[in-house]
């Protein structure tokens, strides 16, 4: 990097490794998050999302590498770095026996908010997170959705620059998910946010950037829309002009289309019809060519359905060598 920014990036991670006993949870990850960005940290279970976040917040010690928050090394001075962070841990642990109000006051005091500003800070957090109705209730009595709001409220009570949210919507019902997503999107307008999830659409709803991690390595880094439009799957159902077509011939026609990578036959309930699943090469959209080829071969197209890749497939695609698009942020050479 030639031009050094005047203010340090909110998060700077370089060559981060973490070994738990014999488990290599992180195998040298590097990325930067500039101020103001909302980043989705995406990966299957066990990929290392929580581990990265626990290291960022100084709860777990890194095995190797550099980790800085707002220019402060988390390894050298975790207490100073934490001042800039609001953190919602995975599973949102809370003191069940405290009242919402009491808990927020405790956090505000631990965050060293001056005594005369505590009231105001709690009021702001309560109103932003919609907690008016439950202020005086015991946390143990709250619904899952409200608990999550309390978790978010405690993370923002000191108005931090950086929010670290570990699976903020996991375990909520669909309505609660929408509410929490809206809340996070609102918070993202003024704060740097990194949130982890294993749900792809989550990132498209909330984030300007997606970081994909698998098996302790960053495998992709880019805009969320790019990730999901990268190729995909086509489900087609074809039939002949008169009766069932010949399966081998139909398959040959589909295979003959330039952008089609693989053809798999599926079962179908439709009479005299054949169903296929096609995977495409890279970003290609072969629908037009496909239609033309079928007409040419005197076949009739009954249905053509473009399916976006699920997360698992996206990972597979990104982690295999023949992935259409190069992963922009691959740090293999940096492994020290």
């Amino acid at each position: 990097m030639s031009d050094v920014p005047a203010t340090p990036p909110m998060i700077h991670i370089e060559g981060l490794t973490k070994v738990y006993g014999r488990t290599h949870a992180l195998r040298g990850i590097s990325f930067e998050v500039p101020k103001g960005q909302v980043v989705g940290f995406l990966g299957p279970n066990g990929a290392g999302k929580s581990t990265t976040m626990k290291i960022l917040t100084g709860f777990v010690e890194a095995t190797g590498g550099t980790v800085k928050v707002a220019g402060i090394s988390v390894i050298d001075d975790p207490v100073a770095a934490r001042v800039h962070i609001g953190y919602l841990p995975e599973n949102n642990p809370l003191y069940e026996d405290m009242m919402v109000e009491e808990y927020l006051e405790y956090i505000a005091r631990m965050r060293r908010i001056p005594a005369d500003k505590v009231r105001g800070a709690i009021d702001t957090a309560v109103s932003r997170c919609g907690l008016h109705r439950v202020r005086g209730k015991d946390i143990g009595e709250l619904s899952k959705g409200f608990r999550q709001r309390v978790g978010l409220a405690q993370a923002i009570v000191h108005d931090p620059d950086l929010l670290i949210l570990d699976e903020p919507t996991t375990g909520l019902d669909p309505n609660q998910v929408v509410e929490i997503r809206n809340l996070i999107r609102e918070l993202g307008k003024e704060k740097t946010v990194i949130l982890s999830t294993h749900v792809l659409p989550e990132v498209q709803h909330m984030c300007g950037r997606a970081l994909i991690i698998a098996e302790g390595k960053i495998v992709a880094d880019g805009a969320p829309d790019q990730l999901s439009s990268d190729g995909g799957r086509l489900d087609v159902v074809v039939t002949g002009k008169r009766g069932a077509p010949d399966a081998a011939a139909a398959r040959a026609v589909l295979n003959g289309v330039a952008e089609v990578a693989e053809v798999h036959e599926r079962t179908t309930g439709e009479k005299d019809a054949l169903a296929f699943s096609l995977t495409t090469k890279g970003n290609a959209d072969p629908r037009r060519a496909l239609f033309a080829a079928l007409v040419e071969a005197d076949l009739v197209l009954l249905s053509l359905d473009k399916k976006a890749l699920g997360l698992e497939e996206t990972f597979r695609k990104l982690t295999t060598a023949e992935a259409g698009k190069a992963t922009p942020d691959d740090h293999h050479p940096k492994a020290a």
């Binding site: 809370l94 005091r109 631990m110 965050r111």
Partner: protein, 241 residues
């Protein structure tokens, strides 16, 4: 120090919300009260002294302190709140100290309740018989010192296991280990005896409880307490690996 006090306050509130702490305190008062009246000889001899009560304190504390300290760290590690706590801008030793102060305050509440014993002594003592305040004040002072050393080690036990029952048993064993060397003196040669005796919490307890406050006894307790607190902090650090 600010954060230490905020933590101590939260822990203390949490003690008063928890049924376990209430039960422990109540049982402590019932048992100590029964022992006091039964063994003090008050009703029979009419001799006003609290010696027998203080003599039994180490044994009582050995049971009751681990019951109070077992949850301090184990509970938070089990429920996950330990992660929220340790990711606040607070140093490990501040957390340890805050929790220690809360447990000490909790046990001191129990101790303050036993003030009824000396008060009742002064009320029912035979006319003319003087109540010797020296051993009583010394007794309470040594009780507080003994409590701090037991609490520090009880808390270490709570840092060693996520399971509160195991933390309790471990705490009991650690307190027992602090108490027992004194009892072993009888079977040891005199030269070793003095050294071993110095290691015993009970030996120093009895010294101070006699009403004679010796710096060496106080130093012993402060040292043992510090060791317990440092071990707890170390153990917490180690869980971050």
């Amino acid at each position: 120090m600010h954060n230490t006090l905020v933590i101590a306050r939260r822990e203390l509130t949490s003690y008063f919300h928890s049924p376990v702490a209430h039960v422990v305190l109540a049982v402590f008062l019932v048992v100590s009260g029964w022992l006091f009246f039964y063994f003090s000889g008050l009703l029979i001899v009419g001799k006003a002294s609290m010696r027998s009560f203080f003599a039994l304190c180490p044994l009582l504390f050995m049971l009751f302190v681990p019951a109070i300290t077992m949850r301090l760290i184990a509970e938070e590690r089990k429920s996950g709140t330990f992660e929220s706590l340790m990711t606040l801008p607070v140093a490990e030793h501040e957390v340890v100290l805050g929790k220690f102060l809360a447990a000490l305050a909790m046990m001191c509440v129990g101790l303050v309740c036993t003030f009824v014993y000396p008060v009742s002594l002064s009320l029912i003592k035979a006319p003319g018989a003087a109540l010797d305040m020296g051993p009583i004040i010394g007794g309470y002072l040594s009780a507080v010192l003994l409590l701090s050393s037991f609490i520090a080690f009880g808390m270490w036990a709570s840092a060693l296991s996520k399971n509160q029952i195991i933390a309790f048993i471990l705490g009991l064993l650690l307190c027992f280990a602090l108490w027992i060397p004194d009892k072993a003196v009888l079977i040891l040669p005199a030269s070793m005896g003095a050294a071993v005796q110095y290691l015993s919490a009970n030996y120093h307890f009895e010294n101070i409880a006699r009403g004679v406050v010796d710096v060496r006894d106080v130093v012993y307790y402060l040292t043992v307490t510090t060791i317990g607190l440092v071990l707890t902090t170390r153990t917490i650090s180690a869980t971050r690996q």
